[in-house]
């Protein structure tokens, strides 16, 4: 056994930091091409259908922008909590709670209240619902030292079971017997570009990404949050309340995921159903990893994942390749980005 692998730290330039994720993506798409070939679809046809589905026409491009909205909001929230050294795996559940809150308030008020008022109320409620759902996990970590990964995953399942129950009980659409769903809601997101599905949520999400960037890097609170995340011991010594920062970062992170849920219901589907979030919250973790936990870098990152998501839907429609291809691709992107980041930051010597 003479094979030795040594890992040495080195200074990474901005160039390598931008180049390495690109190489990681190329590798992931390469392995994805092999998977396609195995599944009986020519990679050239497959990827051209994929690109066509994501960017093929102004309408499709607008759809990709619509799809990136939840990724951006949740990705930014996850990045914020990551900066505070809390790993929020619970965006999925917080998203569902936000969607439930928005649907509920709309069903309650829509017979006698104009929709803009409901939309604003739905925003606030979904922020609160997601914030509470995330805050619970934050509280349990800060005050009792319970691993947030386990609690947030459990709370994802809790939210999903709650959703399944509500759709068959209090939020049930009486006209839909076979297919559990809520009635159509009148609260909506106004369309920004007529003729497409691009709604106001897109602009809101970009604004929030910028605000989060400002909060994290330009305010005193953001500095404290990052300090507590980087080194909780010295932050405590400096007099910062580390426990409160953990809770706060989970509340903000959860609130943003909840907001994403309400925007998804009001902007895209206009009713609530079981498949409202088929793993969007998990994908958002990969989005924030690719964006290196930087709110502004998450904007292009969420765009890429929006494109993957829509591209794969089109891919299934044209070539019959299963849409689950996106999940396999995302898993590989995650692993390759991890390893490439390591290569950017460290020099690895073999032998």
């Amino acid at each position: 056994m003479d094979l030795k692998i040594k890992v040495e730290e080195r200074e990474a330039s901005l160039f390598t930091f931008i180049l390495t994720p690109i190489i990681a993506f190329l590798f992931a798409f390469l392995v994805g091409g092999i998977l396609m070939e195995w599944a009986g679809v020519s990679p050239v046809d497959g990827y051209s259908a994929f690109l066509g589905g994501a960017f093929g026409s102004p309408r499709k491009l607008a759809d990709t922008l619509v799809r990136m909205v939840p990724f951006l909001l949740m990705g930014v929230g996850i990045a914020l909590s990551n900066r505070g050294n809390v790993l929020n795996i619970g965006a999925e559940g917080q998203f569902i709670m936000g969607a439930i809150a928005a649907t509920w308030i709309s069903m309650l008020l829509q017979d006698f209240t104009p929709w803009p008022i409901i939309t604003v109320l739905a925003f606030l409620l979904s922020l609160g619902a997601g914030g509470i759902w995330g805050g619970i996990a934050g509280y349990l970590k800060a005050k009792m030292g319970i691993n947030e990964v386990v609690t947030t995953v459990m709370m994802n399942w809790l939210a999903f079971k709650l959703l399944q129950w509500l759709l068959r009980g209090p939020l049930k659409n009486p006209e839909s017997e076979m297919w559990p769903m809520s009635p159509h809601i009148k609260a909506k997101m106004p369309i920004v570009i007529p003729g497409t599905r691009l709604h106001l949520g897109f602009i809101i999400s970009i604004l929030i990404a910028y605000l989060t960037y400002y909060l994290l890097f330009k305010t005193n609170m953001g500095f404290k949050l990052r300090a507590c995340g980087k080194n909780p011991f010295s932050a405590k010594y400096a007099g910062y309340n580390v426990e409160n920062m953990i809770i706060l970062s989970m509340i903000i992170s959860g609130g943003l995921a909840g907001l994403a849920g309400s925007i998804e219901v009001m902007g895209v589907h206009h009713f609530l159903y079981e498949g409202i979030s088929v793993g969007l919250g998990y994908t958002a973790i990969i989005v924030s990893l690719v964006g290196k936990d930087h709110p502004l870098a998450i904007i292009p990152s969420s765009f890429i994942f929006g494109a993957i998501y829509n591209g794969v839907v089109y891919l299934q429609a044209t070539t019959g390749l299963s849409y689950t291809f996106s999940k396999a691709l995302e898993g590989m992107i995650y692993i390759f980005v991890l390893i490439s980041e390591l290569l950017a930051r460290y020099r690895i010597r073999i032998g």
């Binding site: 030292g145 809790l158 689950t324």
Partner: protein
């Protein structure tokens, strides 16, 4: 009434088996200082491959071998990322999760499409004499072969961890790797082995879920059990027997809520089912709150070891 109790306890053991296998494997991994959050992904891959090979060959044994093998391979990848490359273990573990989560579903859909393919489930086998004991016999000794394996394997693993030289090395590596290294223990090798053992057991646990419990494969078939197993390790304070006890408790919560579900459906409240299915997940959170005081994780948990660095 006795029959009902027997069936609840039987289902308890069935649910506890995959959790105990994955959980005790994770105890090994964490005791050696590696937090493997990828259990869920490994279980999903184990479930899919056991399904595929049992479907192809008609033999559960080959299915289990496939799930064992994929567990070992993903364990190697996890160990490579966390021990050799020294990546952040939480992030590396999530990578294993995403890989298994995505790949298992994609492979399944590509091979089987949307059709529902059933396989012949493995059957519960009654042990002679023991299975004749009222209630207990029907619950514990009329079980799947994998459950019997867990009855033997977990005490053996407990014994290995606390009473063998290798187990001492493993615990030392998780508490103070530098001291262990000074005494001539190969820290990297021990960690590699611990992670691979843990992942292999998670693979088998996934295979069990598919071959014994469900009998078919579908997306997210593990219902979060990989993460539940990690929670149970915390609940069990990194001890194999306590973790096993925790899985039985959880299995009980699961079994009761599933049984109540049938009762409520018969009474005409089918939607209450979903409400009841929240109980198991809630019980994990409550259990973790209950033991939160006085737990102490292995000191070097999730800390990569760098041999060349002097401190």
């Amino acid at each position: 009434m006795l029959e009902l109790i027997t069936s609840i306890l039987n289902l308890m053991v069935v649910t506890a088996t995959p959790l105990a296998l994955a959980g005790v494997g994770e105890v090994y991994s964490e005791r050696a200082g590696v937090l493997n959050l990828g259990l869920e992904g490994i279980m999903l891959m184990g479930a899919f491959l056991s399904f595929y090979y049992t479907y192809k060959t008609g033999s559960c044994l080959i299915g289990y071998l496939a799930s064992l093998l994929v567990g070992i391979i993903l364990g190697l990848l996890m160990a490579f990322m966390s021990v050799t490359l020294k990546l952040n273990q939480v992030i590396a573990g999530m990578g294993i999760f995403f890989l298994g989560f995505g790949l298992s579903d994609f492979l399944f859909r590509s091979i089987f499409g949307a059709e529902h393919v059933m396989i012949k489930k493995s059957a519960q086998v009654g042990l002679p004499i023991l299975s004749k004991i009222p209630v207990v016999g029907g619950a514990f000794f009329k079980q799947y072969p994998m459950a019997y394996l867990s009855y033997i394997l977990i005490p053996v693993m407990w014994f290995m961890l606390y009473k063998s030289r290798w187990g001492l090395s493993l615990r030392a590596v998780g508490e103070n790797p530098r001291a262990a290294d000074t005494l001539g223990v190969n820290v990297y090798l021990v960690r590699y082995l611990a992670v691979i053992i843990g992942s292999a057991m998670a693979g088998i646990a996934g295979g069990f879920l598919c071959l014994a419990v469900v009998g078919l494969f579908f997306e997210n078939l593990t219902f979060g059990m990989g993460f539940i197993a990690i929670g149970l390790v915390y609940f069990g304070k990194w001890d194999p027997l306590r973790t096993w006890a925790g899985s039985l408790l959880f299995g009980f919560a699961w079994s009761v809520s599933t049984t109540l579900q049938e009762v409520f459906t018969k009474m005409g409240y089918p939607s209450a089912t979903y409400f009841l299915l929240m109980i198991p997940y809630l019980s994990i959170i409550l259990a973790l709150i209950a033991v939160s005081r006085g737990t102490r994780s292995p000191s070097a948990l999730a800390v990569p070891y760098r041999r060349e660095e002097a401190r």
